[in-house]
Assembly symmetry: C2
Homo-oligomer: 461 residues x 2
C-alpha cells in the first residue's frame, strides 16, 4: 500500500509540473524555504512548491490533489509563528506570491479587492495617494493579505479598527472539492445565510484556500497624535490603559513595553528612556478630538502615577516617540546575538490584564529566563519574546514549561491560548483545554468541508 501511495504521489507531482510548467519546484532549498522558518517549531518541508497565477489554477491543483489524496498547504508571506506552513504529511505547498495584483480600489465604497498574495506593505503603498488605509498591522509588512485572513491577524490598531475578522467583506476561496466560492457579496452588511467569511478567517488553510479578498478601507484620520507615558509598575500601566479604553477615548493604538524591553531598545536605538513600564499611544480624530482625548488620558495617567508624558503630532515627532516600539523585536535580537527568539502571545479580559502580565513577569524572573514583554494592552493581549539557546536542552525544557504555564494562566483568567498568532502546530495541544466540546464542533465542520483531510492536515487539531 505504501508503495502505491508513493507512486500516486509521484504521478501527482509529474502532473502538477506539466500543468504549470516552469512554475513548480522540488528543489531542496525552495522546499526548505516553504516550511516553518520563523520559530522554534521544527521545519517540515513540503514535497514540492507550485506558483499558480489564477483562482482557476488553484482549483485545478486542489482537484488533482484530491484525486491523489495529497496534502496542499497554502503559503503566503511565510511569517506565521506557529508552524502553520509546515508539511508534516508532505504534500504540495501552494505559494501565492505570483497572485499579487490589486484588482480594484473603490474609494467611494471604502473597499478594495486584492489577490491573496499581495503583501501588506504593497497595499499600504498603493493606498497612500487615496487618503484611505487598511488598518490591520500584524508587524510584518511582508505578510500577505491572504495569510493574514487565514490566521485572523490583528495588531497594534486592532483596539480601534478591529482585526482581519472585522475588516473583510468577501473572500474568494477554493474549497477542498476544487469548487470556487465567494463567501459574501460586496454590501457592508448582510443577514443572508451562514457567515462563511468569518468561518474562513482564522481557519489556517484547513477549510479552503483563499485566492482573493475584498477588504474594508478607512479614511486616514485628519490628525494623528502620538504619546508616551512612563509608569512605576506594570499594574499601574495596565490600569491606565484599561481606564483609557473604558473612557472611550479615540485610541487607535495603546502598547506596553516592560522595563527589560525598554533597556533593550535604549541600547539598540541609542535612546535614553527611563527603564520602567512605558505606554505608547496613538490617537486618531479631528485636531480638537485628539487634543481632548489626550488631555483626558493625561488625567487618567496621573491617577495611576504616570510621568514623563510626551506627545507629538508631526510625522517626525511621532516616529521619534514610537521608535522604541517599532524597534522592539530587533532590539531584543541584537541584545543577545546568536540566541534564538520565540515570540508567543496570549489574551485575557481587560480586567485580568494587570494580573496576567504581573504573574508572567514574576514567572520569568523565577524561571531565570530572558523574556521581554510587549503588549497590545488595549485588547488585553500581550507577547513574550523568549530569548534562549536551542542547543541547551535543559534551558529549552524550562522554556517549554514556562509556555505551558503561560497558557494555563491565560485559560485560568478566562483568556485564550493565542490572541493573534494562531494555533498551527505550536498551540494545537491547547485546543481541547480552551474550547472543550467546541473542538468537536470544529472537527465536524472540518470533516464536512474537507472529508479527505487534504487541506493543511495536522494544523489546529
Amino acid at each position: 500500500v505504501g508503495d502505491s501511495i508513493e507512486k500516486s504521489r509521484q504521478e501527482f507531482f509529474a502532473q502538477v509540473n506539466s500543468m504549470l510548467p516552469g512554475r513548480c519546484s522540488v528543489g531542496q532549498d525552495v522546499r526548505q524555504q516553504h516550511s516553518n522558518t520563523m520559530t522554534f517549531v521544527p521545519s517540515q518541508p513540503p514535497d514540492a512548491v507550485v506558483w499558480p497565477v489564477t483562482t482557476a489554477e488553484v482549483s485545478s491543483l486542489v482537484r488533482l490533489a484530491a484525486a491523489h489524496r495529497v496534502p496542499v498547504i497554502a503559503f503566503g508571506g511565510g511569517t506565521s509563528l506557529e508552524g502553520h506552513v509546515n508539511a508534516p504529511h508532505g504534500g504540495l505547498s501552494i505559494d501565492f506570491s505570483k497572485m499579487n495584483q490589486i484588482l480594484a480600489v473603490r474609494p467611494n465604497d471604502l473597499d478594495c479587492t486584492v489577490e491573496a498574495g499581495v503583501p501588506l506593505d504593497h497595499l499600504t503603498a498603493e493606498l497612500r495617494a487615496t487618503g484611505l488605509f487598511f488598518p490591520v498591522d500584524p508587524g510584518a509588512g511582508t505578510a500577505t493579505l491572504g495569510g493574514m485572513a487565514a490566521t485572523r491577524a490583528s495588531g497594534t490598531t486592532t483596539v480601534r479598527y478591529g482585526s482581519m475578522r472585522e475588516n473583510l467583506i468577501n473572500i474568494k476561496a477554493v474549497m477542498a472539492s476544487g469548487e470556487v466560492v465567494d463567501t459574501a457579496r460586496r454590501a457592508r452588511k448582510s443577514a443572508s445565510g451562514y457567515d462563511l467569511t468569518r468561518l474562513l478567517v482564522g481557519s489556517e488553510g484547513t477549510l479552503g484556500l483563499i485566492t482573493e479578498l475584498t477588504l474594508k478601507l478607512h479614511g486616514v484620520p485628519e490628525t494623528i497624535l502620538a504619546a508616551t507615558a512612563s509608569f512605576a509598575s506594570i499594574v499601574s500601566a495596565c490600569k491606565a490603559s484599561t481606564q483609557a479604553i473604558q473612557a472611550g477615548l479615540g485610541l487607535a493604538r495603546i502598547e506596553l513595553l516592560d522595563a527589560v524591553q525598554i533597556q533593550c531598545v535604549n541600547a539598540y536605538s541609542h535612546l535614553n528612556l527611563e527603564s520602567v513600564p512605558t505606554l505608547f499611544l496613538e490617537f486618531h480624530g479631528s485636531p480638537a478630538a485628539c487634543r481632548d482625548d489626550f488631555e483626558a488620558f493625561k488625567d487618567i495617567a496621573a491617577i495611576e502615577g504616570g510621568s514623563n508624558i510626551k506627545s507629538a503630532i508631526d510625522d517626525a515627532g511621532r516616529k521619534s516617540l514610537w521608535r522604541a516600539r517599532h524597534d522592539a523585536f530587533w532590539a531584543v535580537k541584537a541584545a543577545w546575538p546568536g540566541k534564538q527568539l520565540l515570540v508567543t502571545d496570549i489574551a485575557v479580559p481587560l480586567s485580568k490584564l494587570a494580573e496576567a502580565v504581573t504573574e508572567t513577569s514574576e514567572d520569568i524572573k523565577k524561571t531565570g529566563l530572558i523574556a521581554p514583554i510587549v503588549g497590545h494592552v488595549g485588547d488585553g493581549n500581550f507577547h513574550v519574546i523568549v530569548v534562549f539557546d536551542r542547543a541547551n536542552s535543559s534551558e529549552f525544557a524550562r522554556v517549554e514549561a514556562f509556555l505551558d504555564r503561560l497558557v494555563e494562566r491565560a485559560l485560568r483568567l478566562e483568556g485564550t491560548a493565542t490572541g493573534e498568532h494562531g494555533v498551527g502546530q505550536g498551540k494545537s495541544r491547547y485546543m481541547v483545554r480552551e474550547h472543550g466540546a467546541g473542538v468537536e464542533v470544529m472537527r465536524a465542520i472540518k470533516q464536512a468541508l474537507d472529508p479527505l483531510n487534504i487541506l493543511n492536515p495536522g494544523k489546529i487539531f
Copy 2:
C-alpha cells in the same frame, strides 16, 4: 409509518410535559402566538410550546427531540420579519422568555453576560446607571438578545458600532446533539480555532440554540449631537451620506426618510417638515469632536444642496429632531388603517446606494404601490414599508413581483437580498442566486452539525 411517527411525537410531547410540568402548552392561542405574526408570511404554529429556565433543560429537550426526530424552534421576542419562528414541519417551540436573567455586568471588562431571553429594552435599562450601553438597536425593544444574535440583527447604530456580529464575545449554545458549547473565551480577541461565535450569529436557530451570550459594551459618549438635513432629491441625500462616511466623521447614526415617509410622519406626529428626502444624523464623541464633525458634515451637505440643517445636543432637543425617525413605522401604519404592512430590506455597496434607492422609488411609482423608504444609509441598507391589502390578490401579486425586482436589483448592484432582516422562509428562495456554490458549503455545515435536521427545519435553505 405516518402513524408510528405520530405516535412517537405524542409520546415526545407527553415526556416534555412531565419533564417541565406546568411549563408546556398545546393551547391553540399559545401555539398561534409562537408562529409568525409580524408579516405577510403565513402562520405555521408549532405543536407545543415549552418554557425552559436553564441551559441544562434546553439540552434535555433537544436530546429528547433528537431521539423522537421532532423539530425544535427557538423563540425569542417573536419580532422577526421573515417567518423565522414558523413551524412548517410542526414540532416544539422553545420559548426563552423565562431565561431572562442578566448574569453579570463587568464595567472593567466592557462586557456583560445575559441569558438568551433578555429583551433588549431590559438590558438597556439595567445598564443605564453604569455609563455603558449595548449599541445594537434593531428597532424592536422586545427583541431578545438571543434572537438578535440568531438573526445577526443590526440597526441605526451599526454604521459606528457594528451589528451583533461585531458585538459578541461568547455564545453558549445547545447543539443538535444536546451538547452544550461555549463558542469562545472572554478575551476580546483570539486566534484560536474556527470562529464558532460568528457561525452561530445569523444561523437562525438552524445550527444550535443560543442560551447565553457575552456581549461587548461601550462607554456612553460624552456628547451626543443630533441633526437633520433636507435634500432636493434622494440622490443628493445619499451622496451626502456616503461622503460623510468616507470622511470618517464620528457618525453613530445616519438615516434617510423619503418624501412619502416624511408626509406620513407630518400627519401622524403633527410635524411640519418639508416633504423632501431628509437625513437624520447623530454624532458621538467629545464636545469638540461632535462640533468639528457636525461642521464638516454641513460643508458636505452644502455641496449636495442640503438645506434646513438643524442640530441639538440636549436630550429634549435631540428627541424632538429625531421624532420623525422614531415614529416612521407607526406613522405609516396610521396613515392607511386596515391595510397590511410588509417591511423588507436590502443592502448594496455605498456607491450603489443612490442608484438602488432611486430605481426602487421609480419602481414603486410605476407599480402603483404605497411604499415609503427608510434607510440605514451609512451601511448602504434600506427598508421599504409596503402598504397593501392582503385580500386583494392582484395587488398582492404586484407586491410580490416588486419584492422580487427589489432583490434582483440588490444582487445586480453587488448587494444582498437582506441587510438585516434575515432569510427565514421569506427570502430562502434567493439563497442560491445570492451565494451560488456557497449554499452547498452552508448545507454541508448544516448536515454536519444537525444530521437529523431537527433545528428549525425549513429555514434559510
